[in-house]
């Protein structure tokens, strides 16, 4: 048994947690799947490797409402989402126990996930128990944006229009996102209808741009929106473009520091005026 499995079993056996959110191989599909382990389940079945792509922090608000204390296994990116969820008071730290193994990166469709190139924390910033040495990570270069940045505004619109046109509006991107948690999503609001419900370019573009803005300074770049998209829209490019700007303006990578308020909900005296000045 790995240290992670042992600790998980111990926590469940002692009743320190009522359930543990982790990954397990499902023989029916031959792949790993998020699984909720209870006391009677075998903690030796817990898997942590490059197949564990899902961001389990997403389930915590619902599960902590049902169980007193929930254990959760977190990668670095999932931990950054959790940090923001804690800062925004979506969950209370007392209701979770964070198990944080060092993450060496995950695979999506057989290749290393692009988000892993820009990862600032290989181990979750919120951790009750850490496993493995903290891996050093360089600052993100957002290399995947270069291709977009080189485009003229027309080319850029062309590129994104083609992507947005594919959207089915299934909202997998929203549902899979730990930080997209509005009780009434703007896309669901019937009156006034800010975003039309049908699948057409103007409404699709509106949906994706609004979502990107709502995540500004909050997105932990877990990449789940892009992975979950049935149409393969690189949604994450919008988010990292915004995060690159946030880093330039405020020096913040969301979720990396447990005590740092998201830049767009605070006003600091030394905030840059550059963005505003451009538009004055």
């Amino acid at each position: 048994m790995t240290e992670l499995q042992q600790k998980a079993r111990e926590l469940l056996d002692k009743g320190e947690i009522d359930a543990l959110l982790a990954w397990k191989v499902d023989p029916g599909i031959g792949d790993v799947r998020p699984t909720l382990f209870k006391k009677d389940d075998d903690a030796a079945e817990i898997v942590f490797d490059e197949r564990c792509v899902h961001n389990l922090a997403n389930y915590l608000p619902t599960l902590t409402a049902r169980y007193n204390r929930v254990g959760v296994v977190l990668k670095g990116c999932d931990g950054r989402s959790l940090t923001t969820l804690l800062i925004e008071h979506r969950i209370s730290k007392n209701s979770i126990v964070a198990l944080a193994p060092a993450c060496e990166g995950v695979n999506v469709n057989g290749a290393r996930a692009q988000k892993c190139d820009d990862c600032p924390t290989a181990t979750s910033p919120v951790a009750d128990y850490e496993f493995g040495a903290r891996l050093a990570r360089g600052d993100a270069e957002f290399k995947q944006l270069e291709r977009i940045e080189k485009m003229s505004p027309e080319e850029r619109w062309q590129f994104f229009a083609e992507q947005f046109a594919k959207c089915r509006r299934c909202y997998a991107c929203r549902q899979v996102c730990p930080l997209c948690y509005c009780e009434l999503c703007i896309a669901d609001q019937p009156e006034p209808r800010w975003i039309e419900p049908s699948r057409k370019l103007s409404a699709n573009a509106m949906w994706h741009l609004v979502r990107a803005y709502h995540l500004a300074g909050r997105c932990s770049d877990c990449g789940e929106c892009t992975r979950a998209c049935p149409e393969g829209i690189p949604i994450r490019l919008l988010n990292i473009a915004v995060e690159k700007l946030v880093r330039e303006q405020f020096g913040v990578r969301p979720g990396t520091k447990p005590d740092e308020l998201p830049p767009l909900v605070t006003l600091a005296k030394d905030d840059s005026d550059e963005v505003m000045a451009e538009h004055l």
């Binding site: 509006r169 299934c170 669901d188 699948r199 979950a228």
Partner: protein
Amino acid sequence: MSAGWKLLKRGDLGAFLDSLAAGAELWVPRRKGTRWDFDQYEKGTDTTFPTSIIEVSAKALFFPRRRPIARFNPKAKWSVEPVEPASEPRIVMGMHPCDVAGVRYMDRVFLANDHPDRLYEAERNRTTIIGMRCSEMKPTCHCTDRNLSPDETEGMDVVFAEAEDGLLFRALTEKDERLLGSPLLAATDAKPEAKEWPKGRHLVPGPDELMDLYDDDFWLEASDICLTCGACTFACPTCTCYLVADEKFGDEGERVTAWDSCQFLSYSRETSGHNPRRSNAARLRNRTLDKFAYSFHKHGMSSCTGCGRCVLICPIQRSFPQLGTKLKERVEEKKSKARVS
């Protein structure tokens, strides 16, 4: 009705498709990115017919994601004009039995009632389905557990199958004999290879047994990790829920139907704000029972065709058919408990 098969030599496929496209709008499978979808045939392009599931169902060809039903001028009163249904003949070629079964189910939903959907009806009337027998079952395929098989031809007008030296065609309805009148096709004694297909991958309890589980804890546990996105419903060949919206842009207004999903929180929210299916569990139960119980009661057939598209699309690798298997275990558990007490 002819029972014989006709052979199209592999090298003649392009010419045959060109001849079909000369008389009708022709839709064929096309690979887009990592998946197969349907697309309109372009003369002279190479076409391959996947031998098993096409990831994107042909549902949208009959029931589009966004479908204008009327046009109006938002600034004028009483200007609503219904949209004229399409009438040009169309051929959809390469649909597999699970996809055709989806169309048969949609026929029951949209046509077998007092208010048939006239736009859907028009799409059906103008379409000839040239279905394709599957030559393999993918790991996620389980049509054999849903009263279907890779050889099923019901609902098709013409069927074709892979053979060693080409494709074998057979007309199933009188009106479509003419499609196979092309000199490129030659009568043959050859028949598609008969195969034994695996069964029992994902059995589900019967509709009544399932209804007995309505208040079971099962749903809460099963919904733990469901995201309640609409990916599975949009991929499903039989999910037909839609909403109606008036969309306005300047002087142009359109009343449209757009795909909706019972997995969305907004789907069941009432005007008062009350929502009878607020919890993930209630929404998961609704979809599962709709596939395996309500559909029997309302339309006389299961609305699960065993295609496995929901499994392929799910962001958390959850699968509805597997839920069925677990439900079966739960039913057995209940039975044995009842016997003991």
